[in-house]
Structure formats: C-alpha cells, structure tokens
C-alpha cells in the first residue's frame, strides 16, 4: 500500500494550501463564485452544481477504486480515514437545513469563500453567517435536548457496499460501476430539463453547455470503471489468494518486531499454555480454533499479519484467507524463532564478512534483550595493517 502518504505536519500544511488553491480555482471557473449560477440548480434552468459535483464524485471515486484494485491503496482505509460516521437522523434533518441555507444565501460554505475572494459582498456575509452559526450550534449541541438530536442514530463508519452486503474488496468498484451508469443517465436528464426551461432562464445564469468534451468525459468514466473491474482479476491486486503463502524468516520478523512494531501484527496459533509461557514479543495468543473470532476479513490491512505455529504452517488457516492485507507465515514457526532469538548465537568464524558479523551482533542483541543474558562480545572486525607514509599535515588543530 503506497497511498495515503501521510506527510509530516508542515508538508501537509503546504499541501493544504495547494489543494485549496486547486479547489478554489476550479470552483470559481465553474461559476460557483456567483450566487445566481449556483441557485439556478433549484429553479431548473442551470444544473451546473449537480453536473460538476457529481462528475467530481465519480472521478475521485474511480481514482481511489482503480488504485486500490491494483494494490497501490485501499479504498476502505481511505474511506475510514476521510469520511465521518453515519448519523441518519441528524444528517437527514441537517441536510434539509443546509439545502435551505444554500438557496437563501446563494452559496454553500465552500463556495461562499470563493465568492468572498472574488469581491462579492453577499459571499462575505455568508462566510460571517456560517461562522456565527457554527459557533451557536457548538454552544448548543451539548445541552440535553440538542445532544439527543446531535448524536442520534449513530451507525459508525457505514458504506453503501456494506448496506448491500457486498464484499469489501470488490464492493466499491462494483458500486462505482453502478454510480457511473446513474451519473451518465442523470446528466442526460439534467440537460433535457435545462433545454425545457431555457426560455425562462436568468440571463445571469445560463446553463454552460457540455458540448463535445462531454462525450470524452463519459467515455473516460466508463473506461476507468471497466479498468477497475478488470483489476479485480489481477494477480497483483490484494485480492484474496493472491498473496497467500508468503513466508518471513525469524531474523526478518525480529527486525520488524523490534524496529517497526507498528507495521506488523503477530498471531500465535499454538495452544494457549505454550503461547502463554513463551512467545514473540507483542504477539497475540489465539489458538487456531479461535482464529475466526478475530474476524480477520474485516480487520485493518494497514499492518501485515504474521501467523506462526509450532513448526511450519501446513496451510493458511481458512479464517485468515480473507484477510485484506498482506499475510505472512513465520518460516519454521516457534521452533525456528526459539533457535534464532532465545539460543546463544554462533560466533562468526575468523575472517567472516562484515555482513556476517553484523547479523551476529543483531542476533546476540535480540537474545540478550529477550533473555537478559549477555553474549560474548563479537571478535573485533579485521583491521587493515597500519599503513605507511608520514602523517600528512592539515586539519584544524594539527599544529
């Protein structure tokens, strides 16, 4: 998973200004800094709001769905991060109120900033109003009567593919295909409505024609949708089965457990008593019979899952097959871990390469961290014989 990048704080703020610039620029050029053009949506003679918004929704959805199809990102990880929880009643009630505020003020909170930036005094008043309104509600939302409405019917993060009981892997792209069909159909309908109402249009809000580029946009949407569906069949995708059967060596596992424990989730499948006595640091003791209780199919794929048994695992346990992320098994199982991390390491032979000496140092370090026993210090690396030639002068304080 390459995306999201999650840059450092300051870089994120630079990106904020850049993406905001793009956002504001596109909104202004769409005519969304002008109230008449926006409210035309609600009188039927200029449906640009619907066209621009819905095209943007379909485009962004397709980018994320196709990239997650080829394994560069994960639709659900981004969705869990970027969307809010679903609260049915507050959203239904609040949505109606936002819509009413939109047709009264002529802007939504985002476009009011663009209108203000382009000198529209009504935009400035809408910005001021929305700040005041937000503060007033923040003041009220904790009060008994209001908090009941504010926090009602919270369904948590809830997605359309879950509503329709589609799998998390293929659900988003299947739905994306349905949304494309819906979008193109409703765009044709919208243009028909505009043509019908054109004689009554406000001269300040004439529908911007879709023209020829429309065809390319629609064809592009369909092509991206087909590409996304095709990506489901790709072996490089994170589709179930594609990445099963990878192994990790005890040395690699130790490096990750100590060096980057947030990247890995270790599940120990041995019987509870054995696991409770000695186990890999940070691992969970889950006997194989109980593995289904972890509901790995719905677990976050952001950490790689490492399974280990007494020895090599004969096969991937069925309960883990549907895990959406990278699935690894510990090569040699617990026995190999014990031999690597808990037994004294074999000192490298004289004249060993630097890499061998380094591996020995790491292994001894891990053993002493886990057992509290000190290893014999490694032999000093071979040094070059003191070289000839008089010492050269130079350097700050050689005098």
């Amino acid at each position: 998973m390459t995306f999201p990048i999650f840059p450092a704080h300051e870089l994120g703020l630079v990106f904020a200004v850049l993406s905001g610039f793009g956002f504001g620029f596109v909104l202004e050029r769409s005519g969304f800094g002008r109230a008449q053009k926006l409210v035309g949506q609600f009188y039927g003679y200029d449906l640009s709001v619907f066209k621009v918004m819905f095209t943007a929704v379909v485009t962004a959805m397709l980018v994320v769905a196709v990239l997650s199809g080829v394994g560069l990102t994960d639709f659900k990880v981004i969705a869990d991060h970027a969307t809010s929880e679903t609260l049915l009643v507050p959203f239904a009630v609040g949505g109606v109120l936002v819509g009413m505020g939109f047709v009264m003020s002529g802007y939504c909170p985002g476009t009011s900033w663009v209108a203000m930036a382009s000198g529209k005094l009504d935009g400035l008043f809408t910005v001021a109003g929305s700040i005041v309104g937000g503060l007033v509600w923040a003041e009220l939302e904790g009060r008994p009567g209001f908090s009941k409405l504010h926090d009602a019917t919270n369904l948590g993060n809830f997605y359309l593919w879950e509503l329709l009981h589609l799998p998390a892997r293929s659900g988003p792209i299947v739905l994306a295909a349905a949304v494309i069909a819906m979008a193109i159909g409703s765009f044709f309908l919208a243009e028909k409505v505009e043509r019908l109402l054109a004689p009554r249009a406000d001269p300040l809000a004439v529908a911007t024609p879709g023209g020829r580029p429309r065809r390319f946009v629609f064809a592009g949407m369909i092509a991206a949708g087909v590409a996304g569906l095709a990506a489901l069949a790709l072996p490089t995708g994170t589709a179930a089965g594609a990445r099963r059967g990878e192994v990790i060596s005890p040395a690699e596992l130790a490096q990750r457990v100590f060096g980057a424990p947030w990247t890995v989730r270790v599940v120990d499948l041995r019987p509870m008593a054995a696991c409770a006595a000695k186990r890999v640091p940070g691992s969970e003791c889950v006997p194989e019979a109980d593995l289904a209780k972890l509901r790995l199919a719905d677990a976050s794929p952001s950490r790689d899952l490492v399974l280990l048994g007494e020895g090599d695992l004969a096969a991937t346990p069925p309960a883990a097959v549907a895990f959406p992320g990278r699935l690894l098994s510990l090569s040699g199982g617990w026995k190999a871990w014990e031999a690597y991390a808990l037994a004294p390491a074999e000192p490298p032979a004289p004249g060993a390469s630097a890499a061998e000496v380094e591996a020995y140092r790491v292994q001894s370090g891990i053993r002493s961290a886990l057992t509290g026993m000190k290893a014999a210090p490694p032999p000093p690396p071979p040094t070059a014989a003191p070289g000839g030639g008089p010492k050269k002068g130079g350097g700050g304080c050689s005098g």
Partner: protein, 169 residues
Amino acid sequence: MERNPEKFWNPYLAGVALGLVLAATYLVMGTGLGASGGSLRMGVAALSAVAPDHVAATPALARAAASEHAGWLVYELAGVVLGGLVAAYTSGRLKAEVLKGPRISTAGRLALALAGGVLMGAAAKLTRGCASGQALTGGALLSVGSWVFFLSFFAGGYGLAWFVRREWR
C-alpha cells in the same frame, strides 16, 4: 488567456478537475476537502481570544480548537481564497458587488445571505460537514451518511426555492 466574465468551464471537465484535486487530497493526506470545519475553527480562534475560559469549558468548542484536521482546513481555506482570487482576476470576474435579482434590495439580499449562512453553519455541525466535507468527500467514498446528506440537501433546496424566488429573479 481571454478575460470574459461570461465564460465558464465546461461543467463536466470542471468536475473531472475537481475530482482530481479531491483524489490527490485523499492519496496524500488520507482526508478530503472541507470548508465548514475550517470556518468554525476560525470562529473558535476569535472567540478564544476574547473568552479563552469559555472555549475550554465548552466541549464542542474545545474539540474544534484541538482538532488537527480543522487546523489543516484553515490552511486549505487560505488556498481556496487564493485560488478563487486568481481565477476571478484572470477571468475578469473580480469585482466588488452584491449579486442579487432586480426585485430585492441590497440590504434584504445581505440579510438573507447572513441568515442563510447562519443556518448552514449550524446545520453543518449537525451533519459533520457541508457540501464539500460531506457530499463530495464522503459521497466519493460511498459513505451511506454522505448520500443521505446529498439527497436531503437537494430536498431542502428545492423545498424552499419557490419561497425565495424574488431574491433571484
């Protein structure tokens, strides 16, 4: 570039451009675009300059003041203002004016703009985001709540449109 204030981008191409900005934000930051959260954060900052104890004592205000995402949105809004300014200047639409229909006074239009803003600001708290933060960001990621918002947003707009028609025509 020609400066024609009557000329707008093709709505479908503009939608693709907006979608790509949104997708880039998902892929870099793991979050989407927004507006109301950033607006509120500025209000909270102003309020805490006057009454810091009150902000600390009100959970919703303290949350907004501490939210890292809301802080990010303030920078994003600074970008929105810059982008809007540059686009308006280069298209010849940068002009101090009040946009309204011929049948309403300027004061009436500004009062409605303010009232509509207050209504949206309050309701966007209830919906955890406005047209950008909820409908666009969540809609593209197939959140059920965002699609509920999308539908009821249009229902509210169409429901009230007839009553305020004199504001626009």
